[in-house]
């Protein structure tokens, strides 16, 4: 209760109800000096309101004196691991990846800068061209043989995978057998 002081606010009917509201405000420290002085005069002459005031003060003090409970340090550490420290780890990992990428780019730039091959404007001699052609033909031959070999291996392993599958599934097995029977007729 503040602003325009009304020291007479506890006069007349309903004074005790207003006094009790003022007791709460006194407890909340929102009652100005003029109203407080008037309240004290009322309490001095009203036993019930005085008792009410004491009881409210005791209740508030009792609550204010409740033991201070603590969240364990382990519980807080668990939260920090999941939040701020997880983010710090992500940022550190991103920094390492960036540094690695930068190192690769730098290394490539250094290698290119030291490349001893002649400039493209210089025409290669006939012997060099022949060696290059032989090299390409050799590489193509090896690649072709390797490709054919890979295809054969793939076909064999595919049939090896499919056959047991037919054996595991009764319905497919029946179909396979039925085809054999039909072919033997």
């Amino acid at each position: 209760m503040s602003g325009d002081p009304r020291p007479d606010f506890l006069d007349g009917g309903g004074a005790c109800a207003r006094a009790r509201a003022a007791i709460h405000e006194r407890r909340d420290e929102t009652l100005d000096a003029a109203h407080r002085a008037r309240l004290e005069r009322h309490l001095a002459s009203c036993v019930d309101c005085a008792a009410f005031g004491d009881e409210i003060d005791v209740v508030s003090e009792a609550l204010g004196g409740l033991p201070r409970l603590r969240l364990s340090d382990a519980a807080l550490e668990s939260v920090l691991e999941r939040t701020v420290r997880a983010r710090r780890r992500r940022v550190a990992r991103a920094g390492l990846a960036g540094a690695a990428a930068a190192a690769v780019v730098l290394a490539a730039a250094l290698i290119l800068a030291r490349d001893p091959s002649p400039p493209l404007s210089e025409a290669p001699d006939a012997a060099a061209l022949e060696r290059a052609r032989s090299g390409v033909e050799l590489a193509l031959g090896v690649s072709g043989r390797a490709l054919r070999r890979t295809e054969e291996i793939a076909k064999r392993s595919a049939s090896a995978r499919i056959a047991p599958a037919f054996e595991r599934v009764p319905f497919l097995n029946l179909l396979t057998n039925w085809n054999s029977i039909e072919r033997n007729r």
Binding site: A21, H24, R27, D28, D54, E55, I56, V58, V59, S60, E61, A62, L63, G64, G65, L66, P67, R68, L69, R70, L71, S72, A75, L76, S78, V79, L80, R82, T83, V84, R87, R88
Partner: protein, 174 residues
């Protein structure tokens, strides 16, 4: 809005963890549930840190989150706070302490205060804990609970009187 950065988050989490846990423990009457609520509130603060304007706002933000999580658990009935765990708050209140002249009296009535707290509705218990135990201002509480200041003051005053009435009903005359 700048939001809360990583370092500020950790500082705010360390500063507020005990208050949020204590609030949830006394509201739910169950320290295990309260630990879950406190941890979840802190994780949510991290997730929403960009929307928390400054470190000073973090405390009210944490209380609001913890309060809502507690009430969700009470509504779902998976917390022992519905009704409050018999004897839990009484046991917590057994550590009551206050000014020397009131100390002996408060220690004697600690159990009764715990039982009286348990008997209150979660909303009344919540506003009393915020105001009387954790010292939130009415402005902070109005933000936490999203209710007008005048309405909030009336709720706190009535809750105080209900706690007083419970104590008197229990034969304790403060």
């Amino acid at each position: 809005m700048r939001g809360v950065d990583d370092g500020t988050y950790e500082t705010a989490a360390r500063a507020c963890k005990d208050a949020v846990f204590a609030y949830a423990a006394l509201l739910l009457g169950d320290p295990e549930e309260a630990r879950d609520v406190a941890q979840e509130s802190l994780v949510r603060l991290w997730q929403r840190r960009a929307h928390v304007p400054d470190p000073a706002a973090a405390r009210a933000w944490l209380f609001r989150t913890a309060h809502n999580l507690c009430l969700d658990r009470v509504r779902r009935g998976n917390s022992r706070a519905a009704p409050a765990a018999p004897g839990t708050l009484e046991a917590l209140a057994a550590g009551l302490d206050s000014a020397p002249d009131r100390k002996a009296f408060l220690r004697e009535t600690a159990g009764a205060i715990g039982r009286a707290l348990e008997a209150l509705k979660p909303r009344d218990r919540g506003v009393l804990l915020m105001r009387e135990v954790h010292g939130l201002t009415y402005e902070e509480m109005a933000e936490v609970l999203s209710i007008p200041l005048g309405t909030l003051k009336a709720i706190v005053h009535r809750a105080r009187e209900r706690l007083r009435d419970r104590l008197i009903d229990a034969g304790v005359r403060p």
